[in-house]
Subunit: 330 residues, 2 copies
């Protein structure tokens, strides 16, 4: 078991209380590592952090154009959304444009994220449906692709379905990994997820920044134009992309963050060993802050999420979460 | 920064996905360490894991007898409850018996834990009150103690209030630590929390097992008779004490578990470095399983929480959480 460096520290009363270890890589499009710490060659499940690559076949195949998907819809296809009314509206629109409906979803159902939406759903006498699933945008996109390919939509989540085969090929090509030999797991929403090194995730995201890659630019532009779609009212991904529009970033379950900085031609990937999103957010902000590619305003925004205050139930300040930049290749 | 061993492993598709590091100590009442791993001499905030010691002054002072508190009420004084109707009923009863009321609470308010109770509270037009706070039983006990002492209830959460001074003395005496020099933080519910070594927490809990200690026996018996009070419908502490009634165990925020095994005269304390309750539960179950003090039935119950299956939103088995027994003093 490798021991990665501490990437975030939680304090209480000025004393260390908890800590998060992890590894990260920042790469350019040639595969040169600009910054890294920890074991960046160990295989990691990126989970939802690579939704941009799961969305690319929808664009590259011509399906998105065929069904006239707009920026808001493309953004939702790359999202882990909080199931708020606007997310449901856009997911329903994607389904409808492609001639699909909610009954075709194979992602499973769960309650929306925000308490206001849980309460509203319960008060209306409703129960969670698949469209509330945080992955329902991605799945609407996958169903649209399946429809466009003329294949059965049934079983579109299976690794042997043409939709997932296209996702695997896209990931392999962009990230220069052999997906066929990568460890495979099943994600929360039932599609395959493959484990591969952070070094290669960062490379794949750096390649998305190529201005000549129209499909990638369409995804990045769509998400930047509609950051609410990527997460939701209280989601870090939405909030930071609203504050720092030159950043493209996406969370993955179990403490993963991936993204790119198009104006700098860089991609990045981070895994918090223990699976904590708290640690991953503080850690990735420290990594991003260490790169000399931001305006003072952008730095201030990143810094505010790198160093956060913990308050208790009476609103008293009781501690902090601090992202730490680990020593290079520690 | 010390590097503690891995105490729990999360897998997906048979491959390691995340891992939790930590340290633990099992002690007898003389301070002899029976089992340990990691740094057990580093100062750790026990948070709510030491609520039994926060409750002891209520018993030892005679306040509990004076106000006629029953087992159910004593159990709630030691709890981090989920704000279910039975918890609110018992907290209200403690307040009433001691001539206090909800307005005196200084713990802050938050929503109940279970979705059914969130929805019910919202549907009734209500908002969270301090009595919903998971610490409202403990605070009802502290208010009863303040009333019994004849001191002001105002400011009973402050470190200089006689109630907190009695708590500090109790902790120091049982755990053989100098609380006056221990790092202090403010807990989620606004009372002081002091950081001290796991070795000493385990010792303090071992001392609770002394059959001649009537106050400690009253607490242990009360919680064992009413395990629902200590947590709630879906809480691990409640569930495991229902299954293994010879175990006394209590969670603390940020990945802490403390408790004792009265029939074996042992106390234990564990901290998951990253603050994860998931890691702490699996890890403490592995520690408890390693002790040769259980029946086959008790072992089976502990094992079922040491090795748990992760299912996704469609109910598919996608991974596992496995408690690991670290090499002795690794």
């Amino acid at each position: 078991m490798n021991k990665n460096p501490v990437i975030a520290q939680v304090t209480r009363g000025g004393k260390a209380e908890s800590s998060h270890r992890g590894a990260y890589a920042v790469s350019d499009a040639s595969g040169t590592i600009v910054s890294a710490a920890g074991d960046i060659d160990a295989a990691v499940f990126p989970r939802s952090a690579i939704k941009a690559f799961q969305c690319l076949p929808l664009i590259e195949s011509g399906a998105a154009d065929h069904y006239g998907l707009d920026d808001e819809e493309i953004a939702l296809c790359c999202s882990s959304h909080s199931g708020e009314p606007d997310h449901l509206r856009v997911a329903a629109s994607i389904l409808k444009k492609a001639g699909n409906d909610e009954a075709l979803y194979e992602c499973g159902a769960h309650w929306p994220h925000e308490r206001k939406d849980i309460v509203a759903l319960a008060q209306s006498g409703g129960t969670p449906r698949a469209i509330h699933n945080n992955c329902s945008g991605k799945h609407a996109g996958m169903l649209a692709l399946a429809r466009h390919l003329g294949t059965s939509t049934n079983g579109y989540v299976r690794v042997t379905h043409p939709v997932q085969e296209m996702v695997a090929k896209t990931l392999g090509d962009y990230c220069s990994v052999n997906i066929a030999s990568a460890p495979m797991g099943i994600d929360g929403c039932s599609v395959p997820t493959w484990a591969f090194p952070l070094r290669h995730m960062a490379l794949g995201f750096a390649r998305l920044t190529d201005p000549a890659n129209a499909a990638a630019q369409r995804i990045i532009t769509a998400v930047r134009n509609h950051p609410f779609m990527i997460s939701g009212s209280t989601g870090f991904d939405t909030i930071i992309m609203q504050k720092v529009p030159r950043l493209f970033i996406k969370v993955g379950a179990e403490g993963v963050y991936c993204g790119c900085i198009p104006h700098a031609g860089l991609g990045f990937a981070l895994k918090c060993d223990d699976g904590s999103t708290r640690g991953a957010i503080a850690g990735i902000c420290a990594v991003l802050l260490s790169l000399d590619v931001w305006t003072a305003e952008e730095r201030a925004s990143l810094d505010s999420h790198c160093h956060t205050t913990l308050k208790n139930w009476r609103g008293l300040e009781v501690g902090s979460v601090e992202g730490l930049l680990a020593p290079a290749n520690a």
